[in-house]
């Protein structure tokens, strides 16, 4: 049982992370509780109080007490909670202590000093239960995001905790990996484990949740039973700033937007192979309307990222060409005419102030023009601020501003909405629409159908390195795109079931 008694917390570092005030809450054993709310509502802070990272790791002022199985969490060292509460975090890149998968599964048990036989038994059992056998003895760096998250869950499960605490575990996952995560959570629930999960994506969770807690400004604002929550209307959810509960719902939301441009942006001879032979790109000819916002969808490992990198000219060995506006762009020219807003924008902000960031991108540095661009993206008030001190969404806008300043015509976004709540997702969509209006061609690698519907006009689906589908997002296209996102996970689950039977 988890009990919060009159809990308030403020982070010492201040910053953007919001604290909590006056939380009273009891979570029974075996309960599945979902925390939702916009970014900064305090749901992450709440998970940190349960696993003891607050106040043992993140410091601040804590009032009241948090009891887990009657133990006051703040009074015991973190390692004593390790066998009771298992934690899975948001970023699959930064959860691993080992560089090999098997070592990672055993890591927690080794720390607790369990006998070697027992650890081997647990690792074998956990990997059988969670279907991790194909991933054993691999390098962590060779895994996809979804596979990493599975190993993270396995590593925690090997400790056999009876409470699982998860902080936005699906942020970096595609629909297929989310489906696997859902199955795993259902399994833990069936085992009678307590699951506490903070999340933005709700469609895969609401049917599992016994209770849904909506938070705002560090307080518990509303509580629903799982059933009531599932029955909520979309408009009510949107009022709370929450994402859709089922992808089916999106059908009603859909507004067909297509791009009426008559000229085309065409690709030819995009061939690329990594030196070790994996991940190939093999596009002979393809064309999309010029000035379209093209969503690039497809399975993980289908070649979407490779396509984006080749399009940007980042892969020297991809000799293909892009024709836009009657001009042919080869690799080196693409490097000058395309701009990629990366998934982790921290990799592409270099200077000391937001204004500098824009100026350095210009051929001729013009302060007025730079300020105009910043104004357009709602960044002018931050022009003297260090980009690294901004929030994630603001950083993304700075990257967009520098793309605009460098007058690139093709702008590529690599999963711009991973881990964003409704409000921030809409903000990104708005920015993209305004880029479209300026006449830029946009390519957006994404797994987010809600986002696609809010700003894209065209779809290309990449599978096995080829463009499997290429269609405008008209009524028919919307149906097709939603079909892909709705059916694919089901098909995957079916084929897995068949494999098991065989």
């Amino acid at each position: 049982m988890i009990e919060f008694k009159q809990v308030s917390f403020t982070y010492e570092s201040g910053g953007r992370e919001s604290g909590l005030s006056n939380i009273n809450l009891t979570i029974r054993d075996g309960e599945f509780v979902l925390f939702c709310g916009s970014s900064g509502c305090g749901k992450t802070t709440l998970t940190r109080l349960i696993n003891g990272l607050i106040p043992n790791y993140y410091e601040g002022r804590l009032e009241g007490s948090v009891l887990v199985d009657g133990i006051n969490v703040s009074g015991v060292p973190l390692y004593d909670m390790a066998g009771i509460v298992g934690s899975v975090f948001q970023n699959p890149r930064s959860q691993f202590f080992n560089v090999d998968t098997t070592g990672e599964l055993a890591f927690g048990c080794e720390n607790l000093g369990l006998p070697a036989d027992e650890i081997n038994r647990r690792v074998t059992r956990t990997s059988a239960e969670l279907g991790l056998n194909p991933l054993l003895n691999r390098s962590i760096f060779a895994l996809s995001g979804g596979e990493k998250q599975k190993i993270a869950c396995g590593s925690v499960a090997a400790l056999e905790p009876h409470i699982y605490v998860m902080d936005e575990p699906s942020s970096n996952l595609d629909v297929f990996a989310v489906e696997d995560l859902r199955a795993l959570l259902a399994y833990w629930k069936a085992q009678g484990k307590t699951v506490v999960i903070a999340e933005h994506r709700l469609y895969y969770l609401h049917e599992l949740a016994d209770r849904v807690i909506y938070m705002e400004n560090g307080q518990i604002c509303k509580e629903f039973s799982g059933r009531d929550f599932s029955a909520m209307k979309r408009s009510d959810l949107y009022d709370l700033g929450l994402r859709v509960l089922s992808l089916e719902e999106l059908r009603k939301l859909a507004i067909g937007q297509t791009n009426k441009s008559s000229s085309f942006l065409s690709f030819s001879d995009f061939y690329f192979t990594y030196p070790n032979g994996s991940e190939v790109l093999d596009i002979h000819k393809a064309a999309v309307p010029e000035g379209a916002a093209v969503a690039v969808i497809g399975h993980n490992g289908a070649g979407k990222s490779t396509f984006a990198r080749c399009l940007c000219g980042l892969e020297k060995k991809c000799r293909g060409s892009v024709k836009i506006n009657g001009q042919t762009l080869l690799q080196k020219q693409r490097l000058k005419n395309c701009y990629m807003v990366m998934q982790d924008v921290n990799h592409q902000l270099f200077t000391e102030s937001v204004l500098d960031e824009v100026l350095i991108s210009m051929e001729q540095e013009e302060q007025n023009l730079a300020e105009e661009i910043l104004e357009g993206l709602d960044l002018l008030q931050f022009k003297e601020v260090h980009p690294m001190s901004l929030s994630g969404g603001q950083k993304q806008r700075v990257a967009i501003a520098s793309a605009v300043a460098s007058s690139r015509r093709i702008i590529i976004f690599d999963e711009p909405t991973s881990g964003l709540d409704l409000q921030h997702m809409k903000e990104v969509a708005r920015n993209l629409r305004s880029l479209s209006e300026r006449g830029n061609s946009l390519f957006i690698v994404t797994h987010d159908p809600e986002f696609i519907l809010s700003c894209c006009t065209h779809i290309i689906q990449v599978e096995k390195g080829q463009i499997a589908e290429n269609y405008p997002l008209d009524e028919c296209g919307i149906e097709k795109m939603l079909g892909y996102f709705l059916d694919a996970p089901r098909e995957q689950a079916d084929s897995k079931r068949k494999q098991k039977v065989v």
Binding site: P77, F107, G108, I119, V156, Y274, S278, L314, F350, T351
Partner: protein, 239 residues
């Protein structure tokens, strides 16, 4: 975006104990940094310089091993044959080229081999067998864990710089180092922080005797490499 080489298997082809690898790393560095091309060094230095080549080959890193072989072969032959027979500026250039490369490159390549083939768990187990205290083992194991992370982050930053045309010959070349280091530090600090949090919630630092399930220990290959390197080191030191 995942920039690391996919499909890499971490199991080493010749299973060497981390302690053997460390002894070899030390031997290569001591002998080659020491320099000199007289007496027994004529045999010992090239021998140890080719050790990383053999090890990389055993890991099936053919491209890298062949490149290293050609490069270090050229540098060593320069030092051995050409330096004594040239004069003036050419001589100076050759001395600098061969001197620097034969001294530092083998050590670096050897280090690369050790880092890329040693699992963290093996490393920790080996250090514990040597009875080193936790306060040394944990920071060193974190460091080992961090090399590939820093490399992945660095390559993502390089891509971003190329895309924005921020490079030598571009705008503000003086600030290049700063432009690279600031994001690199920010990213690695953030990853480090999240990594520690994840490790602590899984019981790292519990004051009990830590278990190790990976089997380390000396095998035939270890004996062979240990004997060869120790002999080489001793001969080099004595003569």
């Amino acid at each position: 975006m995942d920039t690391a080489a996919p499909g890499k298997n971490t199991a080493a082809r010749i299973p060497l104990d981390p302690r053997t690898k460390l002894v070899m790393l030390l031997a290569v560095n001591i002998v080659l940094l020491g320099g000199g091309f007289s007496g027994i060094s004529v045999i010992i230095r090239p021998m140890l310089a080719f050790l990383p080549f053999i090890l990389l080959l055993s890991e099936k890193k053919y491209g890298k091993s062949v490149m290293y072989f050609i490069f270090i072969g050229a540098a060593l032959s320069c030092e051995g044959f050409l330096v004594g027979r040239t004069q003036g500026l050419l001589n100076l250039l050759l001395v600098i080229f061969s001197g620097l490369n034969t001294r530092f490159v083998p050590g670096l390549v050897m280090g690369y081999y050790v880092v890329s083939t040693t699992k963290i768990a093996e490393f920790i187990a080996a250090m514990e067998r040597l009875h080193l205290p936790q306060s040394i083992i944990i920071p060193f194991s974190v460091m080992l864990r961090f090399f590939p992370t820093v490399r992945a982050e660095n390559s993502a930053i390089s891509d971003a710089m190329r895309m924005r045309g921020i490079q030598a010959g571009g705008k503000r070349p003086g600030a290049l180092l700063e432009y690279r280091l600031v994001p690199l530090l920010m990213c690695t600090v953030k990853i480090g922080e999240e990594l520690s949090a994840a490790a602590l919630t899984r019981g790292l630092g519990k004051p009990v005797k830590r278990t190790n399930i990976c089997s380390i220990g000396f095998g035939a290959a270890d004996c062979f490499f240990l004997v060869v390197t120790t002999c080489a080191l001793l001969l080099w030191a004595v003569f």
